[in-house]
Amino acid sequence: MSTLLEPFDYGFFRHAILVATLAGALCGLIGIYVVLRGMSYIGHGLSHAIFGGAVASYVLGVNVILGAGVWAFVSALMINKVSRRRTIGADAAIGTITTASFAVGLILVSTYRSFVVNFDALLFGNVLGVSQADVWLVAGVGVFAATVVFFGYRQLLFSTFDPEVAEVSGVNTGRADMLLAITLAAILASTMSVLGVTLIAAVLVIPPVTARLLTDSFSRMLWISVGVGTGSGFVGVYLSYYLDWASGPAVVVTSAAVFAVAYLVSSFRRRLPATVVDAHVG
């Protein structure tokens, strides 16, 4: 037992596992809206865009997390603006803006080689770099995201499912989109140090997709997605300690394993006669 609890003796590990668990929960929560809006690629794109923002902020002497968050938010707004032109699809807009932003980051890294900060940690995630301040930051973003989803639940659901009718019914869909973009940017920027910008998109997408395989109800999907994200964050970082893996890949591999199990379960349920499924699942 003491061997299993050994990693918790270290302060850095307690911080890392707390941040990864919170990050998994947050990505599972906001990822629902990202996936159901058909924006899975935006998570991937924005996570790359914030790398450019983080490096540029460092060069300018601005707080890296804050700069990355603002950069991600501005990128999200630009994607929204560019994709409204019908000649340019949303996927092309995301590809152009976020890759350009990532490229700016890489150019800055290669130009200013005398960095004190190790940007590899931002790319792939690193548990060693998590401080007490990071824990408070992610916790604060978590409270913000939970508040947005709790009080905006009905508006976000309606504008995700049927934006046209939502607007007719009095939902300010523009404000809902904006709120979602701010929350997404805040989550990506605050969790990038543990999960890594190249892998965070997977943490954003895999839990909701796993949940979707297991339920046809939106509210249940939300809880399952948060549960899968939370569990993957905790187990992933825990495994990374023993297997000496980078924390980001460990969390992604864990959630991918849960997805594989859910896929098998849902395939098995499909083959069962409807009455058996109703009796055991309904």
Partner: protein, 272 residues
């Protein structure tokens, strides 16, 4: 009859392209109006204008103060794989006035009442994809009805459905109209739906004609609306629109022939 909504010389544009030009139209309480016109004629835009979704670049839209409008979109635009049950879809209409995510007892009671009214009792827990075509359309009518509207707008409620489903959906809409609801719907179905409505609007960016079906379903009006010649016959006092398709060039007559090939014992011929 008191007027619910009035469009005065309303013009809309998407980009540089005019979609509606100088449209005058009014809808009164308890009216049933059908809007017909070709694809791209501005039918959906007209519904959105009535719903208050768009601001005109010219003209004005006058609404009865506090007018509640129910809007039923084309089911073809619905994402049927979205994780949502019938009850969850209907309760979306109660989007305002309550800050917590879960519905109130009143909301649930009202949703159950509307579902029962529309013949969907007991289906609240089903996923929307698991319903028949007519039931799926009724879910979205139920969602609109949960807003307690005085005016119900339906965008092509019978598009892409079979005759039985069309009958089922139109029966529900007529019942709601008989209960006092004003209805405006768009349709491409001139014979099956438009000819049976009390009032029709022929639209092609501008209003070509407004009136009873017998007054507006006429060859000259339809040619101006659709840009193609259409023949109108009369059947039991009802106008019936007949479309003529040009025959393929070089084919004057197609004759069907059959040849009986006797099968000999022990020998089977296979058609080429």
């Amino acid at each position: 009859m008191n007027e619910l909504i009035r469009l005065e010389k309303v013009t809309y544009r998407y980009g540089r392209e005019p979609v509606l030009v100088n449209v005058d139209l009014s809808v009164s309480a308890g009216e049933f109006v059908g809007v017909v016109g070709p694809s791209g004629s501005g039918k959906t835009t007209l519904l959105k204008a009535i719903a208050g979704r768009l601001d005109p670049i010219a003209g004005r839209v006058v609404r009865e103060p506090g007018l509640a409008v129910g809007y039923v979109p084309q089911v073809e635009t619905v994402n049927w794989y979205f994780p949502i049950t019938v009850l969850q879809a209907v309760l979306m209409a109660r989007v305002n006035g309550r800050v917590v995510p879960w519905p109130s007892k009143d909301d649930l009671r009202e949703a159950e009442r509307v579902l029962e009214r529309l013949g969907l009792a007991g289906l609240g827990g089903r996923h929307i994809r698991e319903l028949s075509g007519g039931q799926q359309q009724r879910v979205f009518i139920a969602r609109a009805m949960l807003r307690n509207p005085k005016l119900l707008l339906l965008d092509e409620p019978t598009a892409g459905v079979d005759v039985r489903t069309r009958h089922d959906v139109m029966h529900v809409i007529h019942e709601l109209h008989h209960d006092g609801l004003a209805v405006v719907l768009t349709t491409h179905d001139l014979n099956g739906i438009a000819a049976h409505l009390p009032r029709l609007v022929c639209l092609n960016r501008e209003v070509i004609a407004v009136g009873r079906p017998r007054e507006v379903i006429r060859p000259e009006v339809l040619e101006r609306t659709y840009g193609a010649p259409l023949e109108v016959l009369s059947h039991g006092g009802m106008p019936v629109v007949v479309e003529h398709y040009p025959e393929p060039a070089g084919v004057e007559e197609v004759e069907a022939t059959a040849r009986v090939v006797p099968l000999r014992e022990g020998h089977h011929e296979h058609p080429a």
